[in-house]
């Protein structure tokens, strides 16, 4: 248990350090823009807005929010303080809505779409990869190239094809949106059904892309494990092949948890683009509208939130992994 505590503390420390660095990057990058950031932002914004009083209000609020007249370090603390109070300022493109408000309405869509999809993709991918490693021959010969093809299929390409086939041509599922445009969000059955129906295409497009990559990783891992000494020994102790396959899959699957943690950033990136294709009302779509409207505060906040989500997911996966794999303790002892 002591080894695990050290592991946990180590990971927690890393989480905090990366978080701080993410804040710093989010803070510094826009300030690297040439000239006065507030002026630059507001000029860019003014293109997209015609409301004169709004422009004025934003300019003032933003000068305050950025605190450009103060020293850099102080600016940073102002920024961190604002973030911790959920104060990201006004959204330019959706004035007078606040950024925090926009994000609040988008974030649940993203979480509910992406995390289940990634996990389902991970599970299916691992199962297929393990089967490919075990069955070899025909199954492997078909599965491998298909996996390579699917995993390299751009996420948006998968989204578009699913949409055209099942949304436009076959009309099995609606092609875009998070719920029927004729519905008002409430807790009625019709609304929930509409959400479920709209959920399918984005969900499966993310799942499909995730499957390929995970299957390939799992296949190599399982082949490696199948050649391990304990497989031979267990066989000679008379243990049934089915049970040994169980050992192998478990041992190969556990490191895949870390594999998932490491690839979750890329997966979320792909999933955000898939959201855009389906006009799904999550963070990806929010990001698109923000970019289109030159809405700086919204972009900054969205990227920060996404980073935060990815960091938390990775942190949790690492913790779970350390908990379920005894091999971690061995590496901790080194």
């Amino acid at each position: 248990m002591k080894g695990y505590r050290r592991y946990f503390l180590n990971k927690a420390l890393w989480f905090v350090v990366t978080l701080v660095c993410a804040f710093i990057l989010n803070f510094i990058l826009p300030r690297l823009m040439p000239g006065d950031p507030v002026a630059a932002i507001v000029t860019r914004m003014a293109v997209g807005m015609s409301n004169a009083t709004g422009v004025q209000a934003i300019y003032q609020q933003y000068t305050e929010l950025f605190g450009t007249n103060r020293p850099m370090l102080q600016q940073f603390f102002i920024y961190v303080n604002n973030v911790f109070h959920g104060d990201f300022g006004f959204s330019f493109s959706q004035y007078p809505r606040e950024v925090a408000d926009v994000i609040k309405s988008a974030i649940w869509w993203t979480i509910c779409l992406q995390f289940p999809a990634i996990i389902v993709g991970w599970l299916i991918g691992n199962t297929l990869g393990a089967l490919a490693a075990y069955l070899k021959k025909g199954f492997d010969k078909v599965l491998m190239p298909v996996s390579i093809l699917v995993s390299n299929f751009p996420a948006f390409g998968m989204a578009v094809i699913l949409m055209v086939v099942f949304g436009v041509t076959l009309k099995w599922f609606p092609a875009s949106g998070g719920y029927g445009f004729d519905r008002i969000p409430d807790f009625s059955w019709q609304f929930i059904w509409s959400v479920i129906v709209h959920y399918q295409l984005p969900f499966w497009s993310i799942v499909l892309v995730a499957i390929g990559g995970q299957a390939i990783g799992m296949r190599s891992m399982a082949i490696y494990e199948l050649n391990a000494d304990y497989v031979k020994y267990s066989r000679f102790m008379g243990i049934k092949d089915r049970k040994i396959i169980g050992y192998v899959f478990r041992n190969a699957m556990l490191p895949q948890v870390t594999g998932l943690a490491l690839s979750i950033g890329t997966m979320v990136a792909g999933a955000l683009v898939a959201e855009i294709i389906f006009s799904y009302p999550g963070l990806g779509y929010t990001m698109l509208t923000a970019v289109m409207g030159g809405d700086y505060p919204l972009i900054s906040a969205t990227t920060l939130i996404i980073t935060l989500m990815v960091l938390i997911a990775m942190f949790l996966l690492d913790i779970i992994y350390g908990f379920i794999d005894p091999r971690i303790k061995a590496t901790q002892l080194d």
């Binding site: 890393w14 350090v17 990366t18 660095c21 993410a22 990057l25 989010n26 990058l29 826009p30 690297l32 823009m33 860019r44 070899k136 492997d140 491998m144 190239p145 390579i148 093809l149 995993s151 390299n152 299929f153 751009p154 996420a155 948006f156 390409g157 578009v160 094809i161 949409m163 055209v164 436009v168 092609a175 875009s176 390939i216 190599s220 082949i223 490696y224 050649n227 490491l262 950033g265 890329t266 979320v268 990136a269 792909g270 955000l272 683009v273 855009i276 294709i277 990001m287 698109l288 970019v291 289109m292 700086y296 972009i299 900054s300 990227t303 996404i306 980073t307 990815v310 960091l311 990775m314």
Partner: protein, 416 residues
Amino acid sequence: MKHTIRQVFRSGKFLLGFIIFLALLLITIFYPLIIKDAPLAIIGRGTFFPPGIYVNVYDSIGSPQYTLMLDDAAANRIASKLSNDDRLAMRDWLVADGIPENQIDINNTKALLDQWENNYDPKKQVEGMTLAKQRYYLRLNTSLQGLLSTEGAIIAANNPQSGALEESDSVAQTDYVNIKEVPNVRVLPLGTDNFGRDVLTELVSALATSLKIGFVAGTVATLIGLVLGLLAGYVGGLMDDIIMFFTNLFTVIPGFVLLILISFSIGQEHRGAFTIAVVIGFTSWVWTTRAVRAQVISLRNRDHVNLSKLSGHSVVHIIVADILPYIASYVVMAFILQISFGILAEAGLSILGLGPKTTEVPTLGLMMKWAMIYQAQILGKWWAYLPVVVTIALITFSMNLMNTGLDQVFNPELRD
């Protein structure tokens, strides 16, 4: 070395990937030599012309006319104007008008048209019919006018003196022109896009740009990764600690978030294809660094490196002669993956609206972006997005196939 290369080319996966990649590369080189059009030239007035051969109508009138007596010409003509949906709609109207359904045969064109002509009345209000539907029937009726006529069309020209129309020529239904004798024919194998640009020419040019972006991004990322990995692995100590701190940091902070922030910070005016490529390269070096470092650390303790030191070789010589050859295969594999990643990253960024400036060069991502904005996928204009998706998939597929092939050559336990 020669042996390794021969082995690599004997791997089926690598070879297939290599052939696909080479084919794509050759297309980008030779296509512009044959078709010299500017890829971004707007030639179509209007959006999404479907793929096909476009024959100049004015020229075809002036061309020599030939009479061909072909039996199915009339039927084809009718079929092209009267689709199956139209026939069903006609039946619906007729049934609503009170004609028994069993008396309507939608496959008998002549009978159907007769029934339609006899019964259709644009003023008649059918119960429950929307305004849009009524307009549709109106349009359908107009297009059906003269469908069964066997008369030719008269061509008239404006007399400049009198201002009156004078018949200059007439075209019979059996008149044909030879497409070779029409001076202006344009083949658009993939139609045009939303701006009216030739999709195929644009696609080839976009493929070239995207490959360049991938290549630049891959080179930048691999170089950074290689240098940092070598420094961290070979020098070790504090240098290793510092480099690994940043590497770990950028492993957890999602690269594409940085990409978005940086691209946005650069601003639309400064975002050229090259800049984007460099930015992509700068945000995707971590994996190469990690892999190179791990390799170098295990090599650094290998006896041949010790022996090379004992033979009095300098650090540079050791890195070049005793370390790099051993990690070359990994670096090549990382480079291939980085190229494919760079192409995908550009596409993702462009869809987000953070890609290279639209007016300069076409890229695969930008083509995708505009197709999406103009809803090509919902309107069924497949030629605007499908070739792009297929091209990107082919590039990344070929790259990864090469990579898997290499992996199996260098890690034999993954074979079978």
